[in-house]
Every structure is written in structure tokens, then in C-alpha cells.
Amino acid sequence: MHLDGVIVEWLLVLVRVIALFVITFLIVPYTVMAERWVCAWIQDRVGPNRTGPFGIMQPWADALKLFLKEDIVPHHVRKVYYVIAPTLVFLPALLTMALMPWGSNLGPMSCVLADIGPGMLVVFAVSAFSVYGIVLAGWASNSKYPFLGGVRSAAQLISYEVCIGLSLVAIFMQTQTLNLTQTVLYQASHGWLVWQQPLAALLFLICMFAETNRAPFDFPEAEQELVSGYNIEYSSLKFGLFFLGEYANMMVASMLLVTLFFGGWSLPFAPFNAPAQVWWVGLAHVAIFIAKTACMLFVYIWVRWTVPRFRYDQLMGLGWKVLFPLALVNILITAVVLGLRGGA
């Protein structure tokens, strides 16, 4: 291999990583803003509109404010864990971004940074890690409300992880792959999976609500009970990481939903239903993907500002007693149908 070839290659990698970061850090703050705006609209309000034109500078003011804020590390916390916990919430979301098929390809480059074979398994494995962040945050804060919040939320996350896995098995049975790009390609040629697996889509959607701690499952954050759950003792950007992490996770959830059930970057008509050959289609694919994600995000926000919250035991009950069996039933039905079709 030529040396400058290697350098160029790594430069490209660098560019892609940076691009990924930039896109993520453009979308996530505006997801927060979207939340604030949409909830304002739903409630007949205006929402932030005085920081910059239409308030578009608001997230930056908030973020920079957090940077410039005193970073309290109270004496009673367990320092090391206290410091690493917020990063553990944010990291998984950031890592999953690398696996997402943002588009088909841009010129010669694939839009997926790390197209790992069994991509979904990586997503599972990585997202399991936000549990650590939350548990550690609660435990390290060494105070009751955070502790209760952390443990509750951890139990919630792991319970719903099982359901997520099970609800997706039916999808994997259809697509025969764990790879996200392959899944999108399958849908590009066979139609969106949401039509073929509506139950799985619904289950997955519900699980994702729970997994991202969004209403009606927003227990760990449930302000009304635990003030603000596991992050009470966090100030400054450490709190900001939790805050952003929540929205980043929401974004990941939306992207997964789009990728797995709503055709990813594809649209059901040419020239958007096959990997791009020309650059503008590639760009359009990225745009389509982001647009679909935005729609899903809107649904998340919309639901949050509509429904009441479950009680903790009801939430766990829903996961273990309703969604779990439903997912199994769905798997069996899919298995039988596919079997009758001879696996074709």
C-alpha cells in the first residue's frame, strides 16, 4: 500500500468522523429545541424566541452556559464514578451513530462509518451501556433521590431491553440479517417492514419509548416524584451530558425505528429505492433519512406532551407481562408463516 494512499484514507476517516460529530451535535441540540418548541405549540405557547432570530441560538446559549457554570462535585459523592457516569450515558448514543446507515453512499464512500456485519448486535451491546451510566450516577451521588431514580431506571432499561430484542427477532427472520444496511436494502426492494410486521413495529416503538426514558415511561426523570431522578446532584456540563444524552438516545431510537421499519434512507419509488449511483441521490438519501428521523422525533415529542405517566409497577408489568408475551407470539406467527412459505 502506498504511504500517501494510507494517509489519504485516514484523512477521509477523520473527515467522516468529524462529519458525524458535527451532524450529531447539530441535530441533538435542535432536538432539544424542537422539544421545547413543539411542546410550546401544543400548549398554545410560543416557545423560546428571543435568543437569536426565532430563538435558534437558544441551545447554544444553554450549552455554553453549562460550560461556564461552576462544576459542583459535592463531598459526599463517590468522585470517580460520579465523573464517569455522565459520559457513560452519552457515549453509547454517540457510538451508535457510527453504525447508522445515514444514506446509501456518497460517491465512492459508504455513508455508514462502521458497517459491522451484525450491526444490530452491536447496537444492543452498546446501548446496554447506558444502564451503567444511570446506575453509577445514582449510586455515586450517594443520596436518596438519585439512588432511587438510578436503580429504577436501570431496572426499567434492562427489562425493556429484553422486549426490544424479542420484538426484533421477527424482523431478523424476514431479512435474515443483523446488518442495518442490508435491512434497508431489503426494505428498498421488498417494501417497508412496518407494513409486514406492524406488531413488531408497535412493540419496538413502545420499547423505545421506555428505553429512552420518554413519557409515558419517563420514570427516572419523573420530576414529580424524584425531583429529577438520578441527575439531581449533577451540575454544569455533567448535567448537560445527561440532558444531551437523553436526546441523543432519542435520536438513536428514532433512527433505529426508521432504519428497521420505515425503510431507512429509501423511498418506495425510483430513483430513491436503490443505492445511489450519483451524488445527488446520495445526498437526497441522507436528507430522506434525516427527514424521517425528524418525523419520528416529532412523534416522540408529541406523545410526551399528550399522555400521562405510567406508574412504576405498571410500567414493569407492561414490559414483562404484555410486551414480552406479545413479542413471542409475533415470533411464532412469523415463524409459522415463513415456514409455510418454505422459507422463501
Binding site: 463517590r78 464514578y81 459491522i116 456485519g117 451484525p118 448486535l121 452491536v122 444492543f124 451491546a125 446496554a128 451501556f129 444502564v131 451503567y132 446506575v135 453509577l136 449510586w139 436503580v151 436501570a154 434492562i158 431491553e161 443483523l178
Partner: protein, 168 residues
Amino acid sequence: MTAYDAIFWFFSLALLLCGVLVLISPNAVASGLYLVLSFFFLAGLYVLLEAFFLALIQILVYAGAIMVLFLFVIMLLDFRESRHWWRGNLLGWLGAPLAAGTLLTALLPILKRSGALAVAPEQWFEGTLENVMTPVFTRYLLPVEVTALILLAATIGGVVLGRKETKP
């Protein structure tokens, strides 16, 4: 040294370092977290061994599930061991290396003799999901069901043990 070797050394040394830290850190939570970290490096080694599926399972199950349970238990019990756990345990200090050494010396000749160490490069096996799991669901059907039975037993056992005793 190729890049592969470098990465191998990095992973294995980090893995062993984490192992040592697990052993010596006085705080159970720290031990647990080092263990998680060591699982990561182990998974890295699996990747180097092209056992991709296993690497992911390793993280998913060990790091993502088993260690969460560990953390829960540590927090539930909130137990603090003495910081000087190593004192006055002479037997253990002598015994541990001894046992390990014996085991290794016993195993190595066997391995040598079996010829397992001599590998023909063309026989490499790639541990993708398909390659690993197809035999499981075609050849090893009984073990699958036995695993299920063991899991069932564990479920029942765990529920029984975790049940709240009725107060006197």
C-alpha cells in the same frame, strides 16, 4: 511487528492489567468496573480472532447483563470489605500461584502432544454468526434444550431465593 500484533499486545496487556486491578482493588464496585473493562479487551481479542459473533455476545451478555447484576448486588448489599484484605492470608498467597502454575505445567505438555498448536493457515475459521450458530441449531439441538432447562432452573431458583421472607 504488524499492526495486528501491536493491537494484540495492547489488548492482552490491557486485559491482564484489568484482571490484576480486579484482583487488587479494595472496592467491589471498582473491581466490577475493571471486570467490565477487561471484558471489553477480551472482546477485542475475540475480534482479532475473527470470532465476531462471540465478541458481540461477550459484550452483550457479560458486560451488558451479567455485570449489571453484579453492580445491583454490590449496591444492594453495600458491603465494604476491609481495605487490608490481603493481610494474614498467607495460605492463599502461596496457594494461588502454585495452583495456577501446576495447572499450566500440566496442560502445556498435553497440548504440545496433541498437536493442536500446529495449525495450518488455510484452516482458519471465521466466527460469524452463521458459522457459529448454524451448527448449534442443526447439530447441537440437545445442548440447546439443556441450556434452556438450566436457565429455567436458574429462573426458579432466583425467584425463590429472591422472594421476600414473610416477616415473623
